[in-house]
């Protein structure tokens, strides 16, 4: 065995150590202080997340895992170009990426069906997680997600970036300050049914010729979703129209806007006790919900950039003294008596950067960020309950403590979905 002196003698030290490595340049982060990320399933939305992440000096992205070769290559190219090297490693097996001891956290932006199982596996491997929404495919997955991150004491940030958006935060402040009066009704504007209706299709598309596995690994693409024949429409993004892959328009957008309502009104630890679906799968629809304290929550598609033009993913808070509404347009609309309280806020397009900054800070401090697993699970459960009520076509009553519907056994049987083997949560 070599002695310490021999090792030191043989070691080659650089004559000049760049000051950035030592963290001496203003704003520079020494490598040992960087949070090392890997990514799983980075597509269109994930690209936005990744671009924002790469802008942070304290984060370093080192590996990509994807079932699609073209996406692996595209992400590697983007990352290598950013860092001026060829170091980003590519994987087609998530376990190989998660086994890397140098990776602290993972960015998960796969299709919805993978979100919960992958997040849980990442937690079991000791990784912190940023995961796109919707975070779960069922109530059962939501509970499992929250349990796993509590159990492993890992940091989780759901892709509900508006929690860190300045205009949304001002609305929350207005409610908390009391100027809106006693909270009466929250409005979570969900996307118009022309895009993704509340009830996704249970049909299958016709079988098409399966491409070579290195181009698209259909088995891994399906992952935890039940088998169906390959069709390129799913892979191109059309999966969102199908029940086995998607929770419909309510979950798609409620995972943002219901989440905003819960966050703004400090409802992250409870859920409505009744869900009344109104309307059908075509045309305007809504779900009227009520909390035990009498507060109402309305999920509605006609508020989506409706007459107030507050933009997509908008939400509205009504108190007994005033109301306020905002969305991705950043503009805040409100009752006249609230206007003196408004002030300029950060641009909506900065919400994602602030959201990632929140995550990075929490990875260092081991606090939970704004959209923690517990908070995201809670708001997702509300969306799942509304989705189930819409499928059942009747008003459902819900016991948040017992985690069960109290007036419909069929609804209770819809709280979970079997996962394709070997996957489980």
């Amino acid at each position: 065995m070599p002695t310490r002196r021999q090792i030191l003698k043989a070691a080659v030290f650089p004559a000049i150590v760049p000051c950035s490595v030592l963290g001496q340049r203003s704003g520079a982060v020494p490598p040992s202080d960087k949070i090392v990320f890997g990514g799983i399933g980075i597509g269109a939305r994930g690209n936005s997340d990744l671009r924002a992440l790469l802008s942070f000096g304290q984060a370093r992205f080192v590996a990509i895992c994807d079932v699609r070769n073209e996406r692996r290559e595209a992400v590697k190219s983007m990352v290598d170009q950013k860092y001026g090297n060829r170091d980003c490693q590519m994987y087609d097996d998530q376990y190989a990426l998660l086994a890397r001891g140098d990776i602290d956290a993972v960015l998960i932006a796969t299709g919805d069906r993978w979100h919960t199982p992958l997040s849980i596996i990442a937690a079991q491997h000791g990784k912190d997680v940023y995961c796109e929404k919707p975070c779960s495919m069922s109530m059962e997955e939501s509970w499992a997600l929250a349990d796993a991150f509590r159990r492993y004491n890992r940091v989780y940030q759901a892709g509900c970036q508006r929690r860190n958006g300045g205009n949304f935060q001002l609305c929350k402040e207005l409610l908390k300050s009391g100027v809106l009066g006693k909270l009466q009704t929250l409005y979570a504007n969900v996307g118009p049914s022309v895009n993704w209706p509340p009830l996704p299709s249970r049909d299958w598309l016709p079988a098409a010729e399966l491409p070579p596995k290195q181009v698209i690994d259909w088995d891994r693409w399906l992952g935890p979703a039940p088998w169906r024949p390959y069709n390129p429409e799913y892979v191109r993004g059309g999966w969102r129209n199908y029940y086995d892959f998607h929770g419909g328009g309510i979950l798609e957008w409620g995972s943002h806007t219901v989440d905003l309502c819960h966050w703004a009104a400090d409802l992250d630890e409870t859920q409505p006790i009744s869900y009344e679906p109104v309307g059908g799968n075509v045309g305007p629809y809504k779900v009227n919900c009520k909390y035990a304290n009498g507060v109402n929550l309305v999920m509605r598609d006609d508020g989506w950039d409706g007459s107030l033009k507050t933009g997509s993913c908008s939400f509205r808070i009504e108190g007994d003294k005033g109301w306020v509404e905002t969305g991705d347009a950043t503009r805040i609309e409100c009752s006249d008596n609230i206007k003196p309280f408004l002030r300029p806020t950060t641009a909506a397009n900065l919400a994602l950067a602030y959201h990632l900054e929140d995550l990075l800070r929490c990875i260092k401090t081991r606090q939970q960020p704004q959209a923690s697993a517990a908070a995201a699970a809670n708001s997702h459960i509300v969306c799942h309950a509304a989705f189930i009520a819409f499928q059942r076509g009747k008003t459902l009553t819900w016991d948040p403590a017992k985690r069960e519907f109290t007036n419909d056994e069929i609804a209770n049987r819809m709280r979970s979905r079997a996962l394709r083997e070997p996957w489980r949560v």
């Binding site: 022309v194 989506w304 397009n349 083997e421």
Partner: protein, 232 residues
């Protein structure tokens, strides 16, 4: 007054019309079918994969226990086994547990893993002896599935099995045993078996345990020992 600092995104543009599925892949009447109709489809050798898949999902939602034997017969079907479990898992009838247990010795590979996962989800304590045997299966995926299901079923007997397996396993199976230990400890706590839970957490805090689990166990001990609900 509030200033918009960027152009408001337009209302999400309408997507192009989605492709129309062929008639044989359209849900049609199955969405409204009663249990008898579903059993007829599931037992019909001429029914398509799509019809049987949807019939399983509908049967599960209806809680159609008459459909249990027909769905159990699909547990070894390459394309329909997940749908069969989709139908079976939510039906709260002992016949489902019996069917799942009975299928264990007949299945191999992924089919077996699927059933093991369903048993764990249903927390079927009667399956503990079979699952205990499968813990040491040569296929690590089968072993880890059995271990995870045992963790979900929980109980003192399971705790002892997991503790016994900890020093004998390695790699992914070892990680699965440790993870199942955490899950089992939580259920012991929930059942008021605090001493057993803390004992289990203690084992899981030892240096030989994978770091994520070790840290989780230490965290749980600190949480429990500093809890205001702690017995004094």
């Amino acid at each position: 007054m509030q200033q918009a600092t960027q152009t408001a995104p337009a209302t999400a543009a309408a997507k192009p019309p989605k492709p129309t599925p062929p008639l044989e892949f359209q849900e049609g009447d199955i969405a409204k079918m009663d249990a008898a109709g579903l059993v007829k489809i599931l037992s019909d050798a001429n029914a398509s994969e799509f019809q049987k898949a949807r019939a399983c999902q509908r049967a599960g939602e209806l809680g159609a226990k008459d459909a249990v034997p027909a769905m159990a017969a699909l547990l070894s079907d390459e394309h329909l086994n997940t749908y069969a479990r989709y139908g079976l898992e939510p039906i709260a009838d002992p016949s489902v547990d019996e069917a799942l247990r009975a299928s264990l010795p007949k299945l191999k590979g992924l089919f077996l893993i699927g059933v093991i996962n369903s048993i764990g989800k249903r927390r079927d304590a009667k399956a503990v002896p079979e699952l205990t045997k499968l813990m040491s299966d040569a296929d690590p995926q089968i072993a880890t599935a059995a271990i995870a299901s045992l963790g979900k079923i929980g109980g003192v007997a399971t705790m002892k099995q997991l503790l016994g397996a900890l020093p004998k396993t390695s790699g992914a199976v070892h990680l699965a045993v440790a993870d199942a230990g955490l899950v089992c400890a939580e259920s012991l706590l929930a059942e008021g078996q605090r001493d057993h839970a803390l004992n289990l957490y203690g084992y899981l805090s030892s240096p030989a345990i994978p770091k994520p689990v070790r840290l989780a166990a230490m965290n749980a001990i600190i949480r429990e020992e500093t809890s205001t609900r702690r017995p004094r």
